[in-house]
């Protein structure tokens, strides 16, 4: 499943009700919907352009359902993804276990996918520190171990949300740039080689 009109495929993964949809909703529509919890059915796709330096990059965000029912389908959502935002609920330790599961899944199936570990519902922790079930440093250690970026966000207040997606876009941009420069380097080398050939082959010298 590839799309021409997006630059980066980003997939949201994590246990149900950790707030994947809220995170996307906050980032894309700048709002937080209060109301009864509604689970995502299947997956929702939304394309969002984002400014990085002088370029505009379009993120194609796949907000997947957390329910186990759709687990068999999840492969089609993360296949070819350049970034995965693996979410867990800061107040729910089981959701962190689930995050580990997704990380493993990604490491096995999508090695080129960059992982962003995201602890959600930060606002609840701010209100009452005793609600925290996942230690910041534990999550940080885990992130370092798997080579992931680590964020703690609140979709309710908007805390750290834009930063998260900005980082996703920037990382993509810089890797794309490296790739480009790599390519240019190669082109230069080829040119140089060709030039050498011309010089070595030239009977005049």
């Amino acid at each position: 499943m590839t799309a021409m009109r997006v630059d980066v495929k980003v997939v949201m993964l994590g246990k149900e009700s950790v707030g994947k949809t809220s995170l996307v909703e906050r980032y894309v529509h700048h709002r937080f919907l209060v109301g009864p919890y509604q689970n995502t059915i299947g997956a929702a796709f939304v394309a969002k352009p984002i400014q990085v330096g002088e370029k505009v990059i379009t993120l194609g965000i796949w907000d997947t359902a957390g329910s186990e029912r759709y687990e068999a389908m999840s492969r089609i959502y993360y296949r070819g993804a350049r970034a995965a935002i693996v979410c867990y609920d800061l107040t729910d330790s089981s959701s962190f276990q689930r995050a580990r599961f997704w990380v493993k899944e990604l490491q096995n199936c999508e090695e080129h996918c960059k992982i962003y570990l995201c602890g959600t519902k930060n606002d609840l922790i701010q209100e009452d520190r005793s609600l925290r079930k996942i230690d910041y440093h534990d999550a940080q250690d885990f992130a370092e171990e798997i080579g992931a970026q680590h964020f703690e966000t609140s979709s309710k207040t908007g805390n750290n949300v834009d930063e998260l997606f900005q980082k996703v876009a920037e990382d993509y941009n810089s890797t794309a740039f490296q790739y480009m420069t790599g390519k240019t380097k190669l082109a230069w080398l080829r040119l140089l080689q060709a030039a050498c050939h011309i010089f070595t082959d030239s009977p005049g010298s």
Binding site: E16, V28, N39, T40, I41, A44, F45, V46, R69
Partner: protein, 542 residues
Amino acid sequence: MEGEAQKATASWESGTLAPVDRLRSVRADSPIPGLVEGTEPGRSLSHYQWDYITDCALILKTAGAGQKSAMFIHAHSFEDLTAEAEEEALRTVDSGRSEEQHEEGLKALVAEQNIDEQHSNDLSDSRTKEEDVSSEAWRSHKKHVFVLSEAGKPIYTRYGTEEALSSTMGVMMALVSFVEAEKNIIRSIHADGCKVVFLTKSPLVLVGVSRTCQSDKEMLRELQYIYYQIVSLLTLTQLNHIFQHKQNYDLRRLLAGSEYLTDNLLIRLERDPGLLLSAVTCLPLASSSRDVVSSSLQAAKSKNLVFSILLAGDRLVTLVRKKDQFLHHIDLHLVFNLVGSSSSFREGEGWTPICLPKFNTAGFFHAHISYLEPASQLCLILVSTDREDFFNMSDCKQKFMERLSKRSAYQALKEAVKCPSYSVAQVGIPELRHFLYKSKSSGLYTSPEFPMVYQSDEEQERLLSLYQELHSCLHHPTRPLRYYYRCRETENLLAQVTSGFELYLCFSPLVTKASAFAAVNKLLKWIRKEEDRLFILSPLTY
């Protein structure tokens, strides 16, 4: 005490109440042809033969086992499911009371008491969530629906939590198993003011408990909807596979987060006449505009696209289908329910696997679901066979939108969505308050807005239950009627069925029978005049 409880639970987990040699009769599914077209809902259920055991009193200890009070149930209908499946009628044969049958009833009594004892300690504290299942409030709900696995594990309850009801569901399964062990099938239990209807659809068992005056047939129809709702989330193949693999699997794990779909479907069954009539209703729209919308949808096709459905809330705007592929009204209602119950599709473009059980219980389709505009009621559903087809479907939507927004028809469509449907006053029959008209050939129905007298939800539900009664009478399994006229204190009702249509009218209580019958012709004339606006007369294929 606690130890005992655990023991009971443990034996419950490992064991199953189903007898090993249970009758796994393969039941022919309803002979309804797979299309949206008019189908007589009665036929699907009418092929069971009934055999009554009368006046056999059962004592059924109720849910909150600790409770001392017992509910007395006069069971007078264990039915026998014989192989002569396609038999026309539900024969309400009173088989008399042979000694043998009495014994059967007594054995049932003993069996369930044992089970009840076994699990009387099984109730945990988990019932504190939501409703207390031992409370009077819980008992007095008009209609309960329970879904359980054949191992007796709770899967769904409309009220309360499943955990709290594990012993009740155990009793239900015991009843089912007991009767099945005798190569028989339990269909319903009739108690004073309360009816318990069973539907076994291996590997699931569905039980409805109703305090309304609904017929068994109506309740079975509703249970069947619930069954299809669950199948549409998982496919029957997956369901069978799961339970073959592990008989005491807790299906709630897979259904987590979908309970509200079933909840909403149950509400729809009480409020939406379409589910009663086995039909859907259309958005009233000038045929010229509808044709433009349809042809724009038709033009936005793709290799794997099977159905394109445009909805305005709960009303159909148009449906384009692949040649020779038909969408059954039940499948269509399940799609309506999915879209109508969830705000999830407002976030972006939805992409979800969905099984359309009347089309194929074995596999998933993949539906692209999105609203035409952020705050619009217009929702487009593109059903594809390929799960990798998201961006193709997305392109189809773009194509459709580009085409449509260039035409004036789009404006007309948006206007039509905003307006209320139509008022009954337009028909010009002063005594007429409301009606339902179903065209059998198209599987579509039309009805006006509810008038002032039926504005509240309770009144609307009451009116619909009256229609349901009429419907039951017209489609009575043994004595179907062509006309039915009924005078009540609050309204007079008339129902008529022909080979082409079904009609249900509600008049003021002052109308005379003669003028009510005269109104039918006048209404039919009006509908004929308006039909190109009220119905989809020229359905398109790709």
